[in-house]
């Protein structure tokens, strides 16, 4: 479809509804218009439902041990079988998934917020603020994130997982912040920003009210894709025992336990590994469809 066709179509649409359609409605329409968006959203909703409502369906809690069934295959009593300790795989896996989902979501939101603030301040103020913030960004890029997180793991003893979220977020924001800085530099020269500045609006207000809302699409997409990055980092750290600490469980620690018995008791490995893969896949699909939905140039035929 050529540009004029698109303009015509847009005018036609706008004329039908009398007034410009809201941006949210346009984006949502395009998002749910694609198969990928619908499938990703449905999968993700299913995962959340399973993680938060699923435990109420099962008979066992994640701390229960069934001393009559060690490493038992799936049955009517234990839907997904049991572990070597007698723990119910269904209960433990859902508990771990809940922890992984919450950690991933929070870390992504905190990380993207940090990226937006640091990038916008660096780009808007330029000069020494820019140089200092860019240097800190580079420093964190150079530090091996996995090693630092692992060294700090003794601090995340049981119950301290919010701290883990914060440290995880600290290593998620650098690349996005560089992109935000670039966009801010170009937005800074736009008329609406000049207008606000000449009216005497304070710089921080300009940033939060005029600059950041203008790149909301970038930030939303980035936050979504950060969720899968955060979940993957969290499970990898927990796999080596550096992340979520026992007695709490996460998908990573469950996979680590499951690999030892995977060959003769496949249910200890495949359920948690499968759920992790499906979750990450769903998040990636949602992120990718969101990017297409926000991008006015994408979709609809060949480029």
């Amino acid at each position: 479809m050529s540009v004029t066709d698109e303009e015509l179509a847009e005018q036609h649409e706008a004329g039908d509804r009398l007034g410009a359609p809201s941006r949210l409605r346009v984006v949502a329409g395009r998002f749910f218009g694609s198969f990928q968006g619908r499938a990703g959203f449905a999968l993700l909703a299913l995962m959340f439902l399973l993680a938060f409502a699923g435990p109420f369906l099962g008979r066992w809690s994640y701390t229960d041990r069934d001393f009559t069934a060690f490493l038992a295959p799936p049955s009517a009593d234990h839907w997904w079988g049991t572990l070597q300790t007698g723990a119910d795989v269904y209960a433990v896996t859902l508990r771990g998934m809940r922890r992984s989902l919450v950690v991933g979501l929070l870390a992504a939101v905190v990380g993207t917020t940090l990226a937006a603030v640091v990038g916008a301040f660096a780009g808007y103020f330029a000069g020494w603020t820019d140089r200092a913030l860019t240097w800190v960004t580079d420093l964190l890029l150079v530090l091996p994130a996995f090693l630092i997180l692992a060294v700090m793991s003794p601090l995340f003893a049981s119950g301290q997982w919010p701290l883990f979220v914060l440290v995880l977020a600290l290593f998620l924001w650098m690349v996005t912040s560089k992109i935000v800085r670039g966009v801010t530099i170009s937005l800074r020269e736009r008329e609406f920003v000049y207008a606000a500045r000449f009216m005497g609006v304070r710089p921080t207000t300009v940033i939060f009210r005029h600059i950041l809302p203008n790149m909301s699409s970038l930030l939303v997409v980035d936050a979504t894709l950060n969720v899968s990055a955060a979940i993957l980092t969290e499970t990898s750290l927990s796999y080596f025992g550096f992340g979520i600490q026992p007695p709490d469980v996460s998908l990573g620690s469950l996979i680590a336990d499951g690999t030892r018995t995977a060959l003769y008791a496949p249910w200890t490995f495949w359920f948690c590994a499968g759920l992790l893969v499906v979750t990450v896949l769903a998040v990636n699909m949602v992120g990718d469809s969101l990017r297409d939905a926000f991008d006015p140039a994408s979709g609809r035929g060949r480029r």
């Binding site: 240097w135 580079d138 420093l139 890029l141 150079v142 530090l143 091996p144 996995f146 090693l147 630092i148 692992a150 060294v151 700090m152 793991s153 003794p154 601090l155 899968s228 993957l232 499970t235 990898s236 796999y239 080596f240 550096f242 990573g252 996979i255 680590a256 690999t259 995977a262 060959l263 490995f269 590994a273 992790l276 893969v277 499906v278 990450v280 896949l281 990636n284 699909m285 990718d288 060949r302 480029r303």
Partner: protein, 330 residues
């Protein structure tokens, strides 16, 4: 130009120094080497432990600045101190870097070449069956974390060996120790060890590269110079390979440098799961063993690798892209 490069290099060196110092300070505060000597039977006298820790510069009773200065003065002379067991960190890591290089070279080459070819072909036949298939597969592969992928490969290999009735694929280590036979037998043995780790590395890389290359190729396919190449009478294949693919390769090649730098310390999972004694494995082991000096040395090496990769990718970009090269000459 020379002044710009010099300033950039100086900035890199400062970044490495600060990053390594931060890692050392963090490791020296958070890790507790004294714990290694606790719970032994018979118990080790405290005086002996103190003397040993002081000798290794790991004594938590010495103030941190003092320990840091002693460590830093060694690093400036190129000596990263000693491990918790008393060996030289330099020697240990020097041996391990060889293992890591032998591990990642094949995986990186296989992954990037496959990815580039798949991505380029998918772009040429956009929305065709191959494009749809490769997009779906790469999405699925990207959702599988290395820990899961490596373990699935091990399960598959055990099953394959059982099916064939012989140990064809070996899942642990770099080579069978004390393997009899000449060069050919040893090479075959190494190859059988290499198959699974290489697959676990290259699958993920191929997925990333194919997505990347597909986007780049799509950008280039619509460009005027490709149309001109075909308009002047070149065959479609020649125009696509010589003009489109060559141009679209530039970002992939610069990305290659970054992947290489990141993998030098980043193959932790592959090394740990397949039992290769490389840098990544030592990263996890040194933290479990409270080995402060090794942790600091690995951070220094990682920082060096990242910045060397950044520099290399800039250079490669200049070599491959005539516009950058001409701009520099002017």
């Amino acid at each position: 130009m020379a002044g710009f490069l010099f300033r950039r290099l100086l900035n890199y060196l400062a970044l490495i120094a600060v990053a390594t110092s931060l890692a050392y300070a963090l490791a020296a505060t958070a890790l507790n080497p004294r714990a290694n000597y606790e719970g032994r039977n018979p118990p080790i006298p405290p005086a002996v432990v103190d003397a040993r820790l002081a000798e290794l510069n790991l004594d938590d009773r010495t103030p941190l600045p003092e320990r840091y200065l002693r460590w830093a003065s060694g690093v400036v002379r190129g000596d990263f101190g000693r491990t918790v067991t008393g060996g030289s960190v330099n020697q240990d890591l020097g041996r391990r870097i060889g293992v890591t290089l032998r591990l990642i070279t094949a995986g990186l080459l296989l992954g990037s070449v496959t990815g580039v070819l798949v991505g380029a072909y998918a772009a040429v036949r956009q929305y065709g069956p191959f494009d749809r298939l490769s997009t779906g597969v790469s999405f699925a592969v990207l959702a599988v974390p290395t820990v899961v992928l490596a373990n699935i490969l091990i399960i598959a290999a055990v099953w394959f060996n059982y099916l064939v009735g012989a140990h064809v694929l070996l899942v642990s280590g770099e080579a069978t120790p004390g393997m009899p036979g000449g060069f050919a037998a040893q090479a075959a043995d190494r190859l059988r060890h290499l198959v699974l780790p290489t697959l676990s590395l290259s699958l993920g890389l191929a997925a990333v590269y194919s997505r990347y290359q597909r986007n780049m190729m799509l950008d280039v396919l619509g460009a005027d110079f490709v149309r001109t190449a075909m308009a002047k009478g070149l065959r479609r294949r020649t125009a696509l390979v010589r003009h489109a693919l060559r141009t679209a390769l530039i970002p992939a090649v610069t990305y290659f440098a970054f992947t290489f730098g990141a993998l030098l310390v980043g193959t932790t999972f592959t090394e740990k799961i397949f039992g290769w004694h490389g840098m990544g494995e030592q990263l996890v082991n040194s933290i479990s063993a409270n080995d402060v000096n090794t942790v600091a040395a690995i951070s220094c090496f990682a920082a060096l690798a990242v910045l060397a990769a950044a520099l290399a990718s800039d250079l490669m970009h200049a070599v491959l892209d005539p516009r950058v090269r001409m701009g520099a000459d002017r």
